[in-house]
């Protein structure tokens, strides 16, 4: 069940990254300058869910990424604990002694890059960052595959 939650969170994270990369590229391709920025601003300002919750409980569409990351972090830490790996191993550096640990370290670094990039995107919407986010999300998935293989 934990693995399932982790995978579903990853699917939504990749879907989120893909959406913003495609929409940003499409907006700049179809329109130039202000109209593209205007459309993207509307999207960035939109709230989810649009119905069903009081307005104060809704979150801006870009911020749903924190729900997916939360799912990944909680399920990920739980899965590591089941394997007997704790944060203590991370701080100690003993994680790097095995191949699994080395790949996990790369994966965790990529997740950190994704988090930092997402924060930068929320502060200032630099066009290239959305594409970096997508590449990093795919790289995290590949690292996970490599870790399990």
């Amino acid at each position: 069940m934990l693995v399932y939650v982790h995978v579903m969170s990853a699917i939504l994270l990749v879907g989120y990254s893909l959406f913003w990369a495609l929409m940003t590229a499409a907006a700049h391709r179809r329109f130039q300058g202000v109209p593209a920025a205007r459309l993207l601003d509307t999207l960035y300002a939109a709230h989810w869910p649009p119905l069903g919750l009081p307005p104060r409980w809704r979150i801006a569409l870009p911020n749903v990424v924190w729900i997916f990351l939360g799912g990944l972090v909680v399920s990920g830490l739980w899965l590591l604990a089941v394997r007997g790996i704790t944060l203590h191993h991370v701080w100690q550096g003993s994680l790097l002694e095995s191949r699994f640990g080395q790949v996990l370290t790369v994966k965790l670094l990529l997740v950190a890059v994704f988090v930092i990039n997402s924060l930068l995107l929320l502060v200032g919407r630099v066009r290239g960052f959305v594409h970096v986010n997508l590449l990093v999300a795919v790289a995290i998935a590949l690292a996970s595959t490599f870790m399990m293989h």
């Binding site: 579903m8 994270l13 990749v14 959406f19 459309l39 869910p49 649009p50 569409l61 998935a141 490599f146």
Partner: protein, 141 residues
């Protein structure tokens, strides 16, 4: 990384992009864009979401190709598939379940594609959730 690892990586990435696009588009961005005002802006945004086309068929090509290659690398042969011997074990049973579910998704893709069909879309997403579940179980056999 060996050939099998490359196939697994491509298989997983294709699945993530296809299912991710589907789930996020249906559960998050799609419903948000529908409610954006004015409707002209919502229409423009909707057109942008369709600008690059769908991911279903390209993803299925990659998934089918890598899936067949992986089965071959695991020692499965066409006689095993056609005789049903491949599906006798627990892993084989899970694989058969997965293939039936994927066939359902192919049918949805062929019949509905990107047409508005809320119940079919929901059904397709539930099938996709089941495919993920069966895949997780399959990797543990």
């Amino acid at each position: 990384m060996d050939g099998y690892g490359v196939c697994v990586g491509l298989h997983v990435v294709a699945m993530l992009l296809w299912f991710g696009h589907m789930f996020f588009g249906t559960l998050f961005s799609g419903i948000v864009i529908k409610k954006i005002t004015p409707t002209s802006t919502a229409r423009e945004l909707r057109e942008l979401t369709l600008m690059w086309g769908g991911l279903g068929w390209p993803a299925l090509v990659v998934l089918t190709t890598t899936g067949i290659l992986m089965l071959g690398m695991r020692g499965a042969t066409w006689p095993d598939v056609l005789s049903g011997a491949l599906f006798q074990s627990r892993g084989g049973g899970l694989l058969a379940t997965k293939l039936i579910l994927v066939a359902g998704m192919v049918l949805y893709q062929a019949v509905f594609g990107h047409w508005p069909a809320p119940r079919a879309i929901l059904g397709n997403m539930l099938v996709a959730c089941a495919v993920v579940g069966v895949s997780v179980l399959f990797t543990r056999t």
